[in-house]
Symmetry: C2
Subunit: 324 residues, 2 copies
């Protein structure tokens, strides 16, 4: 399934890094230091690259959206900093999470500060009415992200919350912002409503594919590749898509195994091993992988009719085939 | 010193409350519920009233800025929600803090969600270029607020950090946003640069006066009036302006008493009583009150030359004479 491709957007990575530095500062204060440590070395830069490539796909230039794209990355990383406080995750991107390295209070403030730096970047450039439109779309996505995060705290440990609930949480937590990144890039580049709405749907489907693969990573990748702790979801009793798909079809013995794990108190390593076994037996991993592939297919379908969508098509492939 | 005045802006309070509801929602989700509980019943609404009255002082109308003003209140309350996580304060405005009532993770997400609702409100109305200008000014103030909060975590327990450091923290944490609320209101109403810059300075000085009085409240007001816990600053080892003013001039015995308190481990009630005694003996409370009065005076001086600043002058009086 894996396709050998040069990473998309390699040209823009150094430009995006320079923008990030411009908005976050050079590390003269504890706040700047904590933000820089969270931002660098950067992750996949998926959201800003989606923003840049969406602008280009409708005939715009990277220059028109670089600051905005960097702002979206700041807002995304700010949400990760807060996420790691909530999940008490000590590791992010293969290094200590901000909360682990700087402390809870400091991580909380760093997330807030990085979020505001991101918004300053969003509002910084381009024609007034386009910037406002693109910023409104992005802020709305961030509001949905918060709704998703809150919903997630409510379903913790609840294996009966249903597959559709978990899909809604993914939509709110991940797909809303990937969709907004694409739509905003297109708006800033002067796209027609049809174009920027198609790109929003493209980004949302890509985000769903990405997130479903993300839920599968603890069962398909090594920790040193993802930079995360494979047992984190299970340790946090967070019902993921594969777990719920398995629960739906599992026999009584396997249901009981999952129930025990999600009641908490089990050793995380044993819990992860037991869950993995049930997920394999029930075919849940395969089913989830197929759902990711369908989302990727729907994302590609949205690209028909755009002037130049080669790079966006490649981004779908890398998001849906991710190994980290 | 206390002057009997009808509270300023009484006319606008119901309008602001309606705007807050419009931006935060009706409580259909846990996120909305937590935000509503933090917002209602509202506090003094100082920042949104500053925004409205600043618009009116330069010839604008309340209508032009109501949504923006409500957005500023959301952003302010969001920062209080996060503040109470950091300080582990169980009480805010006489009721359980969000963290106490909903839990840490939920309060963190509620603060983020309310912050994004606030930004959506900022970006919602008026002429594009004015909205962008006013929003940029406000976001810059929020970035400074985060810097102030981070600096505050650094000086915890440090009686040698110096009076000027604590004044800088107040400037960043409080005065930047009160200044921005005034400047943004004026910008939205079409003020000249001279006018909106004067109003920014007015708001900053008013904010300083307000914050200095706030630091004095644990020593001048009853808990049931402030709705806070009088021992909170001492329990958190946060050096305040009166404590540092006292430390500067205290004799060796009193310095040792303060040092003991700020080393931590003392019973909060005893610590508060010992601090109060030293603050009274050294005249630090009087000195701090005089500093607040000077800031109030400087705020009033910025109002010269504005078409109609009666209400803004009254807001200075209530901020500088606050008993809660």
């Amino acid at each position: 399934m894996s396709v050998a491709v040069t990473p998309v957007g390699t040209t823009y990575v150094p430009l995006l890094e320079a923008e990030l530095l411009r908005w976050v500062g050079s590390g003269d204060s504890l706040l700047e230091l904590a933000c820089l440590d969270a931002l660098f070395p950067p992750g996949k830069l998926l959201r800003p690259l989606l923003c840049v490539e969406s602008a280009k796909a409708v005939g715009g230039t990277a220059d028109q959206v670089l600051a905005f794209a960097a702002g979206i990355e700041c807002l995304h990383v700010a949400s990760l900093i807060h996420d790691d406080i909530i999940d008490q995750d000590p590791v992010r991107r293969g290094r200590a999470s901000t909360a682990e390295q700087y402390g809870l209070a400091e991580a909380l403030v760093a997330g807030d500060g990085l979020s505001m730096a991101g918004i300053a970047a969003l509002l910084s450039s381009g024609a007034d009415e386009r910037v406002l439109h693109a910023a409104r779309v992005t802020i709305e996505a961030l509001r949905r992200m918060c709704h998703g995060l809150m919903r997630e705290t409510e379903i913790r440990g609840d294996l009966n919350c249903g597959v559709s609930t978990v899909l809604n949480v993914m939509q709110a937590k991940t797909a809303a912002l990937t969709g907004a990144a694409c739509q905003a890039g297109a708006i800033l580049a002067g796209a027609s409503p049809q174009q920027h709405q198609a790109l929003r749907r493209y980004g949302e489907q890509l985000g769903m594919a990405f997130q479903i693969r993300d839920d599968l990573l603890p069962y398909t990748a090594e920790d040193h590749i993802t930079g995360k702790t494979a047992t984190s979801d299970v340790a946090n009793l967070q019902p993921t898509l594969p777990a719920l798909l398995a629960y739906e079809t599992a026999d009584e013995a396997d249901r009981n195994r999952l129930t025990t794990v999600f009641r908490g108190g089990t050793d995380p390593v044993a819990a992860h091993r037991d869950t993995f076994a049930v997920l394999t037996r029930t075919g849940a991993l395969t089913k989830a992988a197929r759902m990711a592939a369908s989302c990727a297919e729907r994302a590609r379908a949205e690209l028909t009719g755009l002037p130049d969508s080669t790079q966006l098509a490649r981004l779908v492939t890398s998001a849906a085939d991710r190994r980290r």
